[in-house]
Amino acid sequence: MAIGKHACRETLVSAILVAFLLMGCESMGPKTTVGGLGGAAAGGLLGAALGGGGTGIAAGAILGGLIGGAIGDRLDAADREKARVAASQAFESVPSGQSVTWRNPDSGNSGVVTPVRTYQVSSGQYCREYTQTIYIGGEKHQTYGTACRQPDGTWKIVN
């Protein structure tokens, strides 16, 4: 009987020790984590960021001055439409650092739109900074701007 009690006490002590050790494994060291989305998800997310590829939602219209001033005056309506389509596609579907180009064989003019940064404002609205290069008669014109996505899917040039 005395032996049985002793064995029982030893078992209990062992169990408590094992429990403490297991708890220690979860919390010890600064590098241990029990949160996060997991490595497999991180890989998929990096792939999504690289691949872009759009959302299945058709690219919306562009509001505001995508091409203004003297540069805009030198483009015809077809140029401006091609530039708008390219910009809309770039904002909606293309990862930062990749470009969408347009060319109008009739006028000989062309352009490149490249998103460079994506962020979210406090309201949850997405904005993308971009560079735009337009070639008119062989001359290169480069601009930099920011477009923010509106709830209806259009992109508004904010500066």
Binding site: G38, G39, G43, G44, A49, L50, G51, G54, T118
Partner: protein, 130 residues
């Protein structure tokens, strides 16, 4: 926990081609690593990593409402609904960008063994071997 997370990360980044959520284009490990190493220093910095993840959030958020739902998130390969639920600190069934970045930062920190804020070649190798 890390014993499980790191091999999964390695598998996702190295072995199997990762399929993009929207385009379904298989991506090689090299492409994925290069996508995060923006300054081409052969290291993945915390800022680079989070910037790329902010971009990923935009593309995975299909309806562009500013949040990731479980459905949107699970279009990615390798996702775990339990981890999604844990990352959802507000328990509203969706991840805000802030919740998402906090969770993904925990993943980065688990891999950054020497706490220098970057994933260098040695860490990446160890990550692969783990």
């Amino acid at each position: 926990m890390r014993q499980f997370a790191l091999p999964l990360m390695a598998i996702a980044l190295i072995s199997a081609p990762v399929v993009c959520a929207q385009s379904q284009q298989p991506l090689t490990r090299k492409q994925i690593m290069e996508s995060a190493d923006k300054n081409r220093d052969s290291k993945i910095g915390r800022v680079e990593f989070l910037e790329r993840m902010r971009e990923a959030f935009f593309f995975v958020d299909v309806n562009k409402d500013g949040f990731l739902t479980s459905e949107e998130y699970q279009r990615l390969q390798g996702t775990d609904p339990r981890r999604f639920a844990r990352a959802d600190r507000s328990k509203d069934g969706k991840l805000s960008l802030d919740e998402f970045l906090k969770a993904i930062t925990e993943d980065f920190d688990a891999t950054d063994k020497n706490d220098d804020g970057v994933l260098d070649d040695k860490e990446v190798k160890a990550w692969i071997a783990d």
